[in-house]
């Protein structure tokens, strides 16, 4: 009997009522205070970023020259910048980009990580070359390389896809293809162990083709480590993007992200410290809450901890 079925079986004995795996995971997750607080904060930020512009209706690109470098007020809750643009509107707008970059880059990284991990774990012949490729990518100096790639390919992509889409595609893609390695290693380890289990052997013995074994029998069993690294991947991607923007090599000022707002605000921080404070605070809160959610998910999905 596998760990999961045994735990479910024990739960049945104790409580008489059948309990699903999802229910167990959810119960454990809600017991993790940090994870619950993280979920609440993260949901709040996501909702604010999506629906905020409907309530706070100032256009983030509108320059009100009579209201430059203002502090916090009711009209401008986070103040205004040196061109008289409203900071709250810009933070909300920037959050859309930052979060979108985080999610899409994470999705790309998870796709490559899972693909490489499953192929390396399942097909013995691919294991050596793919893992050597992973080691090679791990040895690459990521931040310098990202900076270099952006510097070199920014203009070409801008002229092909337009200034906003071009830089978005570039950043999301390069963050994605430089952060799949940890996932690939974890997935490979799990697949190697799963491959030897009886249910995979049974599936093989009735002639199930490899792709169906992978999709039907292996994928559902490796979902939990993938979910944990996906959560943490969002946080890393958001930080990487802001670091690039902060060094002036990310998104342009008229299409800001939180990192870009920090970069632009850094020159004016003696006049209006709130320009640095708010984007940085929102960025840090997002990353912190996502990290806590990841922590809680890891505990909830780990059968050794769950049910204790």
């Amino acid at each position: 009997m596998s760990d999961q079925t045994r735990i479910v079986a024990e739960a049945v004995v104790e409580e008489d009522a059948p309990r699903s795996l999802g229910r167990d995971v959810w119960d454990q997750f809600t017991r993790h205070k940090g994870a619950m607080a993280g979920t609440a904060v993260f949901l709040f930020i996501v909702l604010a970023v999506i629906f905020g512009p409907l309530i706070h209706t100032i256009d983030p690109t509108y320059s009100d020259f009579r209201a430059r470098n203002q502090g916090m007020s009711w009209a401008h809750p986070m103040g205004t910048d040196n061109l008289g643009k409203d900071m709250l509107a810009q933070v909300l707008q920037g959050g859309r980009t930052s979060l979108l970059v985080g999610v899409v880059a994470m999705a790309i990284a998870m796709f490559f990580g899972t693909l490489v991990g499953v192929l390396a774990g399942y097909f013995r012949r691919l294991d050596g070359p793919l893992m050597r490729l992973t080691d090679l990518f791990l040895a690459l100096p990521i931040l310098p390389l990202l900076l270099v790639i952006i510097m070199l390919f920014r203009d070409t992509l801008r002229s092909t896809f337009g200034p906003e889409t071009g830089i978005f595609l570039l950043i999301v893609f390069i963050i994605g293809i430089t952060s799949w390695m940890q996932t690939a290693r974890i997935v490979r380890g799990d697949v190697l162990a799963l491959k030897e289990r009886e249910f995979v052997l049974a599936a093989k013995s009735i002639g199930t083709p490899a792709y169906r074994i992978i999709l039907r029998h292996i994928m559902p069993n490796i979902l939990s480590p993938i979910m944990v690294s996906a959560t943490l991947g969002i946080a890393t991607a958001i930080i990487t993007e802001s670091a690039l923007s902060f060094l002036g090599l990310g998104f342009p000022s008229d299409f800001p992200t939180w990192g870009r707002l920090l970069y632009d605000g850094a020159n004016f921080m003696t006049i209006t410290p709130s320009r640095v404070f708010w984007p940085g605070l929102v960025l840090s809160l997002t990353v912190l809450s996502v990290n806590y959610i990841g922590d809680g998910l890891r505990d909830a999905l780990d059968p050794h901890i769950r049910g204790r």
Partner: protein, 336 residues
């Protein structure tokens, strides 16, 4: 152990070659022309001469081989000559030169390396000093208020990016309190007590920003490693033979728990160099991170190639050091 080290060294050669190829290819295949920014008044034949002098029209493999030779043979020989005064050949070797300043790239890097090493090195020391006691106490008093606060603070420190802490530090300590200068003055020389105090003052903020980020991560590892070890049988043995708690924790458990932490520190050092790019940019420390940014903004390809590759060498080197350290510190691990 020696055989293992040699084997690992040999394995890292193809890795480094592959990385150097990637670094070279990315920069080389990029659609950018170093003569593109020159004034249009330069006549075409002069422009062609400039291109020739930069070696731009050679085929790709030739340029790659040339760069490899410059990087792996010419530059190390020059360094050895500079340090020891020995003479190899006629000393007239083709060096990797920066397009922007026309001076050898290696000289530029050596000029800026001390600043980076000071800031990064000090931050590592401070991080260990902060992280180890916090991790030890957190684990020893698990779920106490100290542990709760410590875990929370390390999670916060782990999540807040250095460019935000750096800016907050500047706003708070330089602008509001005026304790420390916000800009690192590299020309400053330590001659007497006052200038020494100034040097300490200007180093505090960049060092602390890096140190706090590293300490947050390290204390998490330290705590986890301590927790693992505290449940081992040898701890019960040590206690039952009447050793004091202090001896049990500091001598027996701490020493065993440091093994994985030491390797984490070693593995972290290249990342710190990467993180120092941002910190150096905030505090205007003119170290190698800032050199990289300048090179990138000025499209100075030889400089960027060399620096990126040096970062890669650091990663491979410290991976090797971590593996070897692990083997030395933990006699249970046998690589042979």
């Amino acid at each position: 152990m020696f055989a293992f080290t040699i084997r690992r060294l040999l394995i890292s050669i193809p890795t480094l070659l592959a990385i150097s190829f990637i670094v070279f290819a990315i920069l080389d295949l990029a659609p950018s022309d170093p003569t593109g920014n020159l004034p249009l008044t330069i006549p075409p034949e002069v422009r062609q001469q400039i291109r020739d002098s930069l070696g731009l029209d050679e085929p790709f493999p030739v340029r790659y081989a040339l760069w490899l030779k410059q990087f792996f043979i010419n530059e190390p020989l020059n360094l050895i000559e500079g340090w020891t005064g020995w003479q190899f050949g006629d000393g007239d070797r083709l060096r990797v030169t920066s397009w922007a300043t026309r001076s050898p790239v290696v000289d530029l890097i050596i000029e800026r390396l001390p600043q980076t090493l000071w800031v990064v090195g000090m931050s590592q020391v401070v991080a260990v000093i902060i992280a180890v006691p916090i991790g030890v106490i957190s684990a020893y008093k698990q779920y106490s208020w100290f542990d709760q606060i410590g875990t929370f603070v390390s999670m916060v420190g782990f999540s807040i990016p250095t460019f935000f802490t750096g800016l907050v530090f500047i706003v708070f300590f330089s602008v509001q309190l005026q304790w420390f200068p916000s800009i690192y003055d590299t020309n400053h020389e330590v001659t007497d007590w006052d200038s020494f105090v100034f040097q300490i003052k200007q180093m505090i903020m960049p060092t602390m920003v890096l140190a706090l980020a590293t300490a947050a991560q390290l204390s998490r590892y330290m705590r986890a490693s301590m927790l693992d070890n505290l449940q081992q049988d040898y701890v019960r043995t040590a206690r039952s033979k009447g050793l004091t708690e202090r001896v049990v924790v500091t001598i027996h458990v701490l020493r065993n728990s440091m093994i994985p932490v030491v390797t984490v520190i070693a593995l972290n050092i290249p990342t710190i160099f990467g993180g120092a790019i941002i910190t150096e940019q905030i505090f205007r420390v003119n170290g190698i991170g800032q050199l990289l940014i300048i090179g990138i903004q000025g499209a100075d390809i030889p400089l960027v190639q060399t620096l990126t590759f040096i970062f890669a060498v650091l990663i491979v080197l410290f991976n090797l050091i971590a593996d070897v350290l692990y083997g030395i510190l933990d006699p249970r691990i046998r690589y042979e």
